[in-house]
Amino acid sequence: MIPIPQIALDGQPFTGLRDIIVMILGPVVPGWVIGIVLTLVGLTFLIGFMTVVVMSLVLMERRVIAFMQDRLGPNRVGPEGLFQTVADVVKLLSKEDIIPRNADRPTFLLAVPAAVIPSLLIYAVIEWAPGMSLADLNIGFLYILAISSLTTISVVMAGWGSNNKYALLGAMRAAAQMISYEIPIVMSLVGVAMIVGSLKITDIIGWQIDAVWLILLQPVGFLVFFISSLAELNRTPFDLMEADSEIVAGYHIEYSGMRFALFFLAEYLNAFAAVAIAVTIFFGGWQGPFFPPYVWFVLKCYALFFVLVWLRGTLPRVRVDQLMGLAWKGMVPLALANILITGIGMWVWNEVF
């Protein structure tokens, strides 16, 4: 008999569910079918959960920024505006689906899934609690970096397929920006990989539980990662590719209705993925006292997301050339220096102790 793959539905709250599924299906079907079933169930949970998370993020962003700007924000739909996002989605779903006549149809249409799918794929390796992840790859780290850079393709597709000059400008900005910031992101995490000695997400969290949170050892790495993530995520102060005061909405200017909503969804999925990665790598993942691990993980993610919102409420936007200058003259040298200093530090540590 093929052993049941230990990939899906592990971890505290789901172990029971997994056992039930295995108990029912075990005698009837072969192991690999159970594996597929478990993965599908896990995926369903994940997508459902992430949709709710994104809705809460959108609401949170709107309410927090409203608070910072001395106004109320959405508070009409449901208690404290809790169902505002639901209402928005219903509205977007019922809107006419407009495809510009001169658009490059296949590119225009495919850009949407090209945006959403990679942002969901990242969540495959995120560990919400001990063992609670869809896949614990031994190259989890590289996987995240590889998948997150796929977003560029969808942006360029949307910008080109729309056949709109503003969209094209946005796409050109996106291509330059995302590719430039890919490099400091990768290099900022090299220090972590050197210290931990593994690219596996569970190893990184485990190392932090045994020793200290990596933010203490890699503050510069975190800074470079965080700033570059802002650029990669296309958040203020680096939201150039959809700068509403300059190029109106950038690459998704021609999208309306649910297609627009899906771009929006992808954007927030990416944002949450970035903070989840930052929490995993620098803030000890799910580690924390009293509450269950997954509560800690989500709490930390929301706390870090709050910083993103805070920046959005405060900062102006940089210009294209300043953005590039920051990447190549600021972030890349800083990340390189960080690698060097980490190496020296590790050598000294090993020599002394």
């Binding site: 700007q69 109106v248 102006p316 940089v318």
Partner: protein
């Protein structure tokens, strides 16, 4: 608009300091319409930009989308009716427009406004300047790319000032409060404490805007050195207001050609030498503080004087044949009205010298070589109101 071969830019190209150039539109260039419906053109203003990548190679401004023929309509209405039209020129500074027009009519008819009327005019003109600069600074912040935080901060105070205006004359934007002969109404009792409280509050609020923007690294990086404009060019183009003062020219009609009750008040003329977008922003912030100072003095004068605020003119008052001109320092610069009378109940001709219109003259020159993002910043730093540009 654009013919396939070349795009001739700068219809204003005959100016001496201005070289006319034709940019080849080809594979490396794209022509893009910024406006007339664009979030950052502050109205229905259109810019035809020829871009090479993100760099502006040529810019052509197209205006007239809000043309309502105000000057012609003025020939149909009586002198008092026309005041309502001036509210709708620079709709962010209705009081200043009322004042300039009224002064032109008074000049034509040789009227002398009661002392108290002058104080009222100054008080409201300065509060209006503050409110107008609120919009300028706030939208400038949004143009630079903040998510509307400065805009909402400044609009908070603007609302408070509009509430005061509402208390005084019942309207929030189109007042027709300052009219030929003075200012329409005596202030209500409750106006004075409300105004005093607001004036005590405002300096702290200006500090708040400054904390948000003035020292912000990104804000400085985006605005310092952008849209540089030399003093000599400014004089040649006839620009005025914060743009000219931001280029280091100490020119403020309130001080240089004193009108109304301004000689009685103590205030400073704010200038900066840099001539860039940042300098214009700082000039506006400085002027907001000065406006508060002037408004305080005017309010004190109003409290200590009594008497009429307006001359009784009658609805169909006729100015003797002749002409009159007035110019005042409106929030956006030198606002002038020229009124010709043939002795009838309506002006024979009325002409408005709108500062916004003159100030965007050198826009094409200022934009060339900058990035798309800078277009918005430069346009925002000039602070145009389309009601006034197109009239």
């Amino acid at each position: 608009m654009v013919d396939p071969g070349t795009l001739a830019i700068n219809s204003l190209g005959s100016e001496p300091s201005f070289e006319t150039s034709a940019v080849q539109v080809g594979a490396n260039n794209i022509v893009i319409n910024l406006g007339p419906q664009h979030p950052s053109t502050h109205g229905v203003f259109r810019l035809v930009l020829t871009l090479e990548g993100e760099t502006i190679r040529a810019a052509d401004s197209v205006m007239g989308y809000l043309h309502r023929g105000t000057e012609k309509i003025c020939e149909e209405g009586t002198y008092l009716q026309n005041v309502t039209l001036t509210d709708r020129l620079d709709y962010l500074a209705g009081m200043s427009n009322n004042m300039a027009y009224s002064m032109a009519v008074e000049h034509t008819a040789g009227l002398r406004v009661p002392e108290r009327g002058e104080y009222l005019r100054v008080l409201f003109a300065e509060l209006q300047r503050y409110a107008s600069h609120c919009v300028a600074v706030g939208t400038f912040g949004a143009d630079v790319g903040t998510f509307f935080t400065p805009l909402l901060y400044t609009f908070r105070e603007r609302e408070a000032i509009l509430d005061l205006f509402e208390l005084a004359c019942g309207a929030r934007m189109t007042f027709t409060f300052i009219r030929p002969g003075g200012a329409a109404l005596e202030l209500p009792e409750e106006f004075f404490p409300a105004c005093e409280k607001l004036l005590d509050d405002l300096p702290r609020k200006v500090d708040e805007y400054e904390r948000l923007l003035t020292d912000n690294e990104i804000f400085i990086a985006r605005t310092r050195g952008v849209g540089k404009f030399a003093a000599a060019d400014g004089i040649a183009w006839g620009v005025s207001g914060p743009i000219l003062r931001g280029s280091g020219v100490r020119y403020d009609l309130r001080r240089d050609i004193p009108y109304s009750a301004y000689p009685a008040f103590d205030f400073a003329v704010i200038t900066r030498d840099e001539g860039d977008a940042y300098a214009r922003y700082l000039v506006r912030i400085g002027e907001m503080r000065e406006s508060i100072k002037i408004a305080r003095q005017a309010l004190a004068k109003l409290k200590s004087t009594t008497g009429p605020t307006v001359l009784k003119l009658g609805s169909f008052f006729r100015a003797p044949p002749g002409e009159g001109f007035s110019r005042i320092e409106a929030p956006r610069g030198e606002l002038g009205f020229y009124v010709v009378s043939d002795g009838g109940i309506a002006p024979y001709r009325c002409k408005c010298r709108a500062p916004s219109f003159i100030n965007i003259g050198p826009l094409a020159e200022m934009l060339r070589g900058w990035k798309v993002a800078d277009v918005i910043v430069i346009l925002g730093s000039i602070d145009i109101v389309l009601g006034e540009v197109d009239r």
